[in-house]
């Protein structure tokens, strides 16, 4: 029978911040909260415009090839895991993205191409964050 649940908040019974979800193979479970991305951001242009995002409040120029992304809601520590990719249209290449986790409130993204003068310009940058919210 099809079913639909309407709620604003889902909380674990045994531990509020821990809910198990059955995986696609119908045998293994995974932790819902741990598996959810805690932030994503799509950043474009020389002004580091935050064109779309979730739990992403602002961007600031971090110097050549670097931009700092601030979270709306902070992480609980600095051991979160970030990933993403940059697209450098001017150089005609797509570069992997480096991330330096320095703070629970923000982190710095680095274009690993190393040969671009500005991560903004004609580039797009996509990034996401996994870890624990404060």
């Amino acid at each position: 029978m099809a079913s639909q649940l309407k709620v604003d908040t889902i909380t674990g019974v045994t531990t509020a911040g821990s809910i198990s979800v059955t995986g696609e193979g119908n045998s293994t479970t995974t932790n819902l909260q741990q598996g959810l991305a805690k932030a994503f951001a799509h950043i474009t242009g020389a002004g580091f415009t935050l064109t779309d995002g979730f739990n992403a409040s602002s961007t600031t120029d971090g110097g050549t090839g670097k931009v700092t992304l601030s979270y709306t809601n902070s992480m609980s520590n600095t051991t979160y895991s970030t990933g993403g990719i940059t697209y450098n249209r001017a150089a005609g290449s797509s570069n992997a993205e480096g991330g330096l986790t320095t703070s629970a409130t923000h982190y710095q993204l680095v274009d690993t191409g190393g040969n671009v003068s500005d991560i903004g310009g004609s580039q797009q940058l996509s990034t996401f964050t996994f870890g624990d919210l404060a």
């Binding site: 309407k6 696609e24 819902l32 990933g83 480096g98 991330g99």
Partner: protein, 124 residues
């Protein structure tokens, strides 16, 4: 009391922001970790579904899962944890039980450098 809820769709209390539970399971990361090097074998500063690491050579290691994936057709991502602009991370699935992670510098040399790993796909 432990409980189990079986539903097809989640919505907020106003009936908006509908999402099928298949997207909740399918869209969640099945593994992630920051790998930190202080000696030859990396350690996880934090993690989901990562049991251990197998160091194979400088800059090259296997990430062993706690729960295996259904196939090797999973999507790997990551980044280096550094402000250096000459480090390239290569993350790939190896078997359903592990992924492989490599970092090379601009001289194409393998280096033990901190990095991130994320995995999306189906669990077994």
């Amino acid at each position: 009391m432990a409980s189990e809820l079986r539903v097809n769709t989640l919505k907020d209390a106003s009936g908006n922001n509908s999402i099928a539970t298949s997207f909740v399971a399918g869209g969640s990361a099945k593994a992630w970790c920051p790998l930190v090097y202080s000696s030859g074998t990396p350690t996880a500063a934090d993690s989901l579904n990562v049991a251990s690491f197998t160091d194979t050579q400088t800059g090259d290691a296997y990430i062993n899962y706690t729960s295996s994936t259904a196939s090797t057709n999973c999507s790997c991502a990551g980044s280096n944890i550094s402000t250096s602009s000459d480090l390239g991370v290569l993350n790939k699935t190896d078997t359903t039980a592990r992924a492989r992670t490599i970092i090379r510098n601009s001289s194409n040399s393998l280096v033990d450098s901190d990095r991130n790993f994320q995995l999306h796909g189906d669990l077994a």
